[in-house]
């Protein structure tokens, strides 16, 4: 088991190295000249050359990559060409908002997919209705769903704010978490009201996909012999589903969840733009408009790391869920 986990972690580092290289490669071959862009249209050729030399852009490709890695290890991603702050400080300013949104979405995904999967697998009435509702929500593109939700809950019902995020979270940037633990419940609720619409928009698609896999997997598991054994012991149907059904149904569900995380991470960029949520997505979409490559590289790396870490976690969770995978 330990060896499997270690192996998985080593593989993860390899994937991350490959990711840095690809990101760097794209950065290097892109025709736009960020130095020229940063100096503005009036800069002379000599000024550009001097600036390129100063930033190391005139060195050979591999040497530049090596320097890039060295800087990366020290958390130095260079300065944003747009905000003129270091990318690292920009990222640490914007990341908490995104992480908070992603965590809330994750909770929603888990809850919604469990409800959807368990409800429709156990054949309780109303299961079809909820399935149709969720599937139609999930079939709308995220930006469209976002706009519709804003129209309903902000413009018509005035129930929820349309954009932005409450201030607070001075220490860490995690508004909801800080408010919650400092007992500022009204502040926490305000933050939640801001976050709920974007989180729902992010969550609904993955929740439907995962819920559907969960349903199929559960239906299959509940027909298995060991479930009959569990029933023969006089366990309640709920206990059978909880202890014997869900865990055995987990393997394909976790695999699906890992895949869906990729969609969540790209979804964040669109959704943050729609709801003006001050996170990495908003930062990245502004950076794109300015060809702000240091910023784009930074965001890409952060999202890439998140994706790889989540998938490694999924692999390890699969080992936890199914002991047979541990020692074959």
């Amino acid at each position: 088991m330990t060896r499997l986990v270690t192996g998985r972690l080593v593989a993860m580092v390899g994937v991350l190295l490959a990711l840095t290289f690809v990101v760097y490669l794209v950065d290097a071959v892109i025709p736009a000249n960020p130095v020229a862009a940063s100096l503005g249209a009036g800069a002379s050729h000599a000024q550009i050359i001097a600036r390129e030399h100063q930033l190391g852009y005139d060195k050979p490709f591999y040497a530049q990559y090596w320097l890039f890695l060295g800087r990366l290890i020290h958390g130095n991603l260079g300065a944003s060409l747009r905000t003129h702050n270091t990318v690292t400080s920009d990222l640490s300013n914007f990341a908490p908002a995104t992480i908070e949104l992603a965590l809330l979405s994750g909770v929603l995904i888990a809850v919604l997919s469990l409800i959807l999967g368990v409800w429709s697998a156990s054949g309780i009435r109303g299961a079809n209705l909820i399935r149709v509702l969720m599937t139609s929500l999930a079939s709308a593109p995220t930006f469209f769903l976002g706009i519709v939700l804003i129209l309903i809950f902000y413009s018509s019902l005035h129930l929820l704010p349309a954009s932005g995020r409450t201030a607070g979270g001075q220490a860490t940037g995690f508004v909801m978490i800080e408010d919650f633990f400092s007992g500022n419940l009204s502040g926490w609720f305000g933050a939640l009201r801001h976050a709920i619409m974007p989180a729902v928009v992010i969550a609904v698609g993955p929740a439907v996909a995962i819920g559907r896999v969960l349903r199929g997997s559960l239906l299959e598991v509940m027909r298995e012999d060991h479930v009959r054994t569990a029933r023969s012991k006089g366990l309640s149907e709920f206990a059978v589903m909880l202890h014997h059904g869900l865990r055995n149904a987990a393997t394909p569900v976790l695999a699906m969840a890992g895949l869906q995380m990729g969609l969540v991470l790209t979804g964040v960029i669109v959704v943050e733009t729609v709801f003006a949520w001050p996170g990495l997505g908003l930062y990245a979409s502004s950076a794109l408009q300015y060809s702000d490559f240091p910023a784009i590289v930074g965001v890409t790396l952060v999202l890439g790391i998140a994706y790889v870490v989540i998938n490694a976690a999924v692999d390890i969770l699969q080992l936890v869920a199914d002991p047979r995978l541990r020692d074959q």
């Binding site: 023969s232 366990l235 149907e237």
Partner: protein, 690 residues
């Protein structure tokens, strides 16, 4: 909760009472009538065996006693099922659940699938409120060695036999009684009734005998009643007090084990007894199969369901359902037949059918159809990164085996002994590490027949299309294929209708015939059969074995039959090779092997096979089949062997004991003569101390 209290004395009131139970299932094909008015009582401490072929409704009755039949898809239930005085059909879910928690145990067929693979054994044992000490006690009780360690292991870390023991330990551990059901409560907390649904069918013969012994002991020591569902009359004979024979959803005969087995009154019971492919009967003796097939469960005939197959059927048989009535003077022995057999009809010629001798006469010797010389095959343990420190599975070690042209050789052994690997090597599905595999020159590849024809036939192709495909590969012209396909089907006893059918539209026996027809398409000189009849009911098994014998006689095709069933080996082969942990430990002519077995393992295997003698518990072979991981030094059987001495640490060679009889045992002569000295080695008898 309120539960009807007992009005009669608990000493005589049955633990379970089923009355006029009718269960049907709505399916796409129509309403399947699984149980058609079944009545049965089980007394405290009694073991009732429920026997019958597949589809007779045995398992449905078991599920009814557990109060679970209503939850099966499309089930419609009528009648009465009471366990410990509690109605298991009409009571609320929660009441039935409580009864299962506190009074019932269940053991199912396949120990591989009936335990939750993701949950530790201990947690599964304690789930219904049994404390840890009692759970460990129950593991000990069920004969699980080292229960404290096993308690913390997952099911896949246990062997099949141990898993089934763990299942039994789980069935033994009922929840501490609450007041609602104390009218019949047993203070020690053992179940009043265990429903065991084919609990030994998936196990090796030696392990089966151990499990049967275990049930017998549990009943004696704890007074648990058992409903023992089985298709094997031998297993039923060794354990049951009473036997209920089921056919097409009805009990057709019910009585003490001795009455039913020795004085069967129903023609079906008699036919089942005759249809046993038993090791006790010489292979030159005819075996009488049962003609025809069971009725369509969606529209059973109005009269006796067995009448269409019954040689004694009269016009009256087809008009009214025969009720279960006492056979003369003996109210405990009841039979549902308007013209039952006489009580002592042993010599009576009750059937016109002469039966069949399955063994074909030996074909003339020629170039061998198959020759394995000193073949060895090992595998790495695990795979890829999981490979464990260079240890290897020694699946087949130095095996030499010859199948003469037109001959039939059976390769027998328990699970994990290497017989399937040998089969794969023999038909060239994998290369051997060393040694040689030869088929007779230009006879083409041997063809394979698998255990489960249902899954070896392509589900969306008709049988005719599948045969045409095979013929096309043989270069048969398009316009000739249909005629040749029909000819092939005729050879296996199928007609034109089968050509247009898809596999799922055929019965199990017909599918196996179709698979054989497909194998014959390339006119092979050798058919390699992997457990060819173990998925079939006895009556069908005989017909398939008979077909194989017929093909041998008519076409001269040689057979290599790989099986765990010694009865099948005895009746289908001229030569038998017994495998143990990758090696052939005994080999010889079928008569030699069965009449004078000379390897302690062969003797143990033969002794462990249950006979139809009522109350005869088979002596068990201690322990379980060994793990094939790692190289063997010395005789692999020594740890289980009653005669093992220190010399057994050296590997015995396969040496000639008599003409056409080789044995790999240091004491073969003494063992064959029955005067071997008891062993001086500590044997692995944890499981044997039952």
């Amino acid at each position: 909760m309120s539960v009807g209290s007992q009005t009669t004395s608990p000493a005589v009131s049955p633990v379970a009472a089923v009355e006029d139970l009718r269960v049907s299932f709505e399916t796409q094909r129509g309403t399947v009538q699984a149980l058609r008015s079944v009545s049965l009582e089980i007394a405290p401490g009694e073991i009732v065996a429920l026997v019958g072929e597949s589809g007779s409704g045995k398992s449905v009755l078991g599920m009814s006693l557990l109060g679970l039949v209503g939850s099966l898809r499309g089930a419609q239930v009528a009648g009465r099922v009471q366990v410990a005085g509690v109605d298991m059909l009409t009571n609320a879910d929660s009441t039935r659940r409580l009864l299962r928690r506190e009074l019932l145990g269940a053991v199912f067929q396949d120990p591989l699938t009936s335990l939750d693979p993701t949950m530790k054994i201990g947690r599964q044992l304690t789930e219904r409120g049994v404390d840890k000490d009692r759970a460990i006690g129950n593991l000990t009780e069920a004969g699980v060695p080292d229960p404290r360690r096993r308690f913390f292991e997952f099911p896949h870390q246990l062997s099949g036999g141990l898993r089934q023991r763990a299942s039994i330990a789980m069935a033994l551990g009922t929840a501490p009684r609450t007041d609602g059901l104390t009218a019949v409560a047993d203070a020690r907390g053992f179940p009043k009734l265990i429903v065991a649904d084919e609990p030994t069918t998936a196990l090796d013969v030696s392990v089966q005998a151990q499990i049967v012994l275990l049930f017998d002991r549990l009943r004696r020591e704890h007074g648990c009643s058992v409903l023992f569902v089985t298709h094997d009359l031998g297993v039923a004979a060794s354990i049951a007090d009473r036997i209920a024979v089921m056919y097409a959803g009805r009990v057709c005969e019910l009585g003490s084990a001795a009455d039913v087995l020795e004085r069967p009154r129903h023609p079906y019971t008699r036919a089942l007894l005759d249809a046993r492919v038993s090791v006790e009967i010489s292979r030159s003796a005819p075996i009488r199969g049962i003609e025809g097939s069971p009725p369509d469960p969606t529209s059973p005939p109005p009269g006796c369901a067995y009448a269409p197959r019954c040689p004694r059927a009269q016009p009256d048989c087809t008009t009214a359902l025969p009720e279960l009535t006492p056979a003369q003077a003996d109210p405990t022995h009841r039979v549902a037949c308007i013209d039952p057999l006489d009580a002592d009809h042993h010599q009576e010629t009750w059937s016109e059918s002469p039966g069949r001798v399955l063994a074909a006469k030996s074909a003339p010797a020629g170039e061998p159809a198959l020759e394995l010389v000193d073949v060895t095959k090992t595998f790495a343990v695990g795979s890829g990164r999981l490979r464990r420190g260079g240890e290897r599975v020694h699946a087949v070690s130095n095996v030499s085996l010859t199948v003469p042209a037109g001959g039939a050789v059976a390769l027998v052994g328990e699970s994990g002994c290497g017989k399937t690997t040998t089969l794969r090597l023999a038909c060239g599905l994998m290369p051997a590490d060393s040694g040689s595999v030869r088929w007779s020159v230009d006879a083409g590849r041997p063809q394979l027949i698998f255990q489960d024809a249902g899954s070896s036939l392509t589900p969306w192709l008709t049988i005719g299309a599948m045969l045409s495909e095979q013929l096309a590969r043989q270069g048969v012209e398009r316009h000739e294929r249909r005629a040749q396909a029909l000819e092939l089907l005729a050879q296996v006893g199928l007609d034109e209708r089968a050509a247009g059918a898809k596999p799922r539209e055929l019965s199990g026996g017909q599918r196996q015939r179709a698979a054989i027809a497909r194998a014959l398409a390339s006119k092979p000189h050798l058919l390699i059969c992997d457990e060819p009849v173990s998925a079939l009911d006895a009556s069908l098994a005989i017909r398939v074995l008979d077909l194989l014998a017929e093909l041998r006689a008519k076409l001269g095709v040689a057979l290599l039959i790989v099986t765990h069933d010694l009865g099948v080996a005895r009746h289908s082969a001229d030569q038998v090779a017994v495998m143990y942990r990758g090696r052939i430990v005994e080999r010889g002519s079928t008569d030699e092997i069965f009449d004078t077995p000379a390897h302690p393992y062969t003797q143990g295997l033969l002794a462990a096979i249950p006979t139809t003698e009522p109350g005869r518990l088979s002596p068990t072979l201690a322990g379980e089949p060994p793990s094939p991981i790692g190289e063997d030094h010395g005789c692999a059987f020594a740890p289980r062997c009653p005669y093992a001495q220190s010399v057994c640490a050296q590997l015995p060679a396969l040496g000639e004991l008599a003409i056409d009889h080789d044995v790999a045992c240091h004491f073969a002569k003494q063992v064959a003569a029955g005067d071997a000295a008891p062993g001086t080695l500590e044997s692995d008898d944890e499981a044997a101390k039952l």
